[in-house]
């Protein structure tokens, strides 16, 4: 059962990764608020860290951030760094914590999104991509946070309610119960 759950978890994570990549490439450039764009790499990290019992959320965060950097014109490695840290922090509180608890997951994700956007755009300010603090924070970081949180809502709803109800995405409680049984 553990093997089956793990395989399903890997498949689901892979599907999420592909969906987020397509959305990052196809949707994010065309829907903006001010100068902000949704960060589907962060959406993927939130989905994996909060709703998955993946054993490698940090690796998922690193790869997600790296792909995000390759999609943009900013320095490579910056978003990889941010999402690596984010995945670690979100995953610290126990795997699958967000399962069935949409509000809590949204709250934690919103904080993470605000932090990542702020750090990223301040770093871009320091590297000279923009010379205006107001532009970096209020016209880029803030709109990016809002759009990313909005983009995360359907993922969070699906993973916390639908998947949890169908026992599909390695829920922590069920996963650990099964693990206990396996012992």
């Amino acid at each position: 059962m553990q093997v089956v759950d793990r395989n399903r978890e890997v498949r689901t994570t892979a599907v999420l990764a592909v969906v987020c990549l397509v959305l990052q490439l196809a949707l994010a450039p065309n829907i903006g608020l001010g100068n902000g764009r949704a960060n589907f790499g962060l959406v993927l990290v939130g989905s994996v860290a909060l709703f998955s019992s993946s054993r490698h959320p940090v690796l998922a965060g690193f790869l997600s951030g790296l792909v995000f950097d390759l999609c943009t014109t900013g320095p490579i490695g910056l978003m990889a760094f941010c999402l690596t840290v984010t995945a670690f922090v979100l995953g610290l509180e126990g795997v699958g914590r967000g399962a069935g608890d949409l509000g809590s997951a949204m709250a934690r994700f919103s904080v993470a999104a605000a932090a990542v956007s702020l750090v990223y755009h301040l770093a871009m300010l320091l590297t000279g991509a923009t010379s205006s603090f107001v532009d970096a924070v209020f016209l880029r970081a803030l709109p990016t946070t809002l759009l990313t949180v909005v983009a995360f809502v359907p993922f969070a709803y699906y993973l916390s309610r639908v998947r949890a109800a169908s026992s599909g995405l390695g829920l922590s409680r069920r996963g650990s119960h099964l693990s206990g049984k396996g012992l």
Partner: protein, 304 residues
């Protein structure tokens, strides 16, 4: 069990952070070139179809967004846009005028080059100040080396002759002026005559013998006789030819190429080269035609 897991997680975290920082540093140092840029280029090339698909799918949404933005545009935005439109229209008109001027000046340059004219360019700044003369005023005068008697031409054809100069302006008597009279000839047959203006503005080529063959549409050019106008400058075309069979000369009306009232830039020919003067052969031919006219005149007189 948790400790090995946590250790593995920490090792993974440290490794990913180190790699991220290394990539970030390398990326900042290499700028837009190097292996990282190449990798990014390959990645973006591979994912381009997805990007295009997204743009195609979202284009109606973007259109809606524009419509919404336009609907909610405030009065200040509309006022600013109207001001920009007015400014751009004025700039466009100015640019069109400059383009037209550049085209005319290029025509003058081409004329200068093709005819090897020693000349100076000038602008027409005003027309006649009285109703008795057909003249225009140029924005250059004696200070620019212009003297009375110098011929004036445009890119289309001969305009007239300088009749007076001040330090900074010159007055040009147009070919249509009643007092204007320059030596000209039919280009194809080399029939010599005098191009004269009139009070009505009509320009005629006179003193062309009825024995000469002149057709409507024949090109009239300067003959170079007299050493004032260069030889071969275009003047106009024959508009009509008529003549009394018993008369001596043809009545030839000429349509000028240059419209003096629409001309803005002209060339004032300051000196002639030897090639531009009438040759001895040209003078001999003119004398021969003059001799033929005199003989016909004498015959007519003796018949009477």
């Amino acid at each position: 069990m948790g400790s090995p897991k946590q250790s593995a997680g920490l090792r993974e975290l440290v490794a990913c952070l180190v790699v991220s920082v290394a990539l970030f540093t390398w990326s900042c140092q290499s700028g837009g070139s190097g292996p990282l840029a190449a990798i990014r280029g390959v990645f973006q090339t591979v994912t381009m179809p997805v990007t295009y698909l997204g743009a195609a799918v979202s284009s109606p949404l973007r259109g809606l967004g524009n419509i919404f933005a336009n609907l909610t545009a405030d009065q200040a935005t509309l006022t600013e846009l109207e001001a920009q439109v007015s400014e751009l229209q004025a700039q466009n008109a100015e640019l069109e005028e400059r383009a037209s001027s550049a085209e005319r000046l290029q025509g003058l340059l081409d004329l200068q080059d093709s005819n090897d004219l020693r000349s100076t360019a000038a602008h027409v700044i005003s027309g006649s100040t009285d109703s008795w003369s057909a003249t225009v005023t140029l924005d250059k005068g004696s200070a620019a080396g212009i003297t009375p008697g110098m011929p004036v031409t445009s890119s289309s054809g001969v305009v007239g002759q300088v009749v007076s100069c001040s330090a900074t302006t010159s007055t040009v008597r147009l070919l249509t002026d009643e007092s204007s009279s320059i030596s000209a000839m039919v280009q194809s047959t080399r029939a010599q005559g005098m191009l004269n203006g009139s009070a009505s503005g009509e320009v005629t080529l006179e003193l062309v013998s009825t024995s000469q063959d002149v057709e409507v549409g024949s090109v009239i050019v300067t003959s170079g006789l007299g050493g004032v106008f260069p030889k071969g400058l275009p003047i106009g075309e024959v508009a009509s030819v008529s003549g009394d069979p018993s008369g001596l000369y043809l009545d030839i009306v000429v349509d000028l190429y240059a419209d003096p009232w629409a001309t803005e830039e002209v060339l004032v020919i300051t000196s002639l080269t030897d090639d531009q003067r009438a040759t001895a052969e040209d003078i001999a031919e003119a004398d021969a035609q003059e001799g033929a006219r005199s003989s016909e005149d004498d015959d007519t007189g003796s018949d009477e």
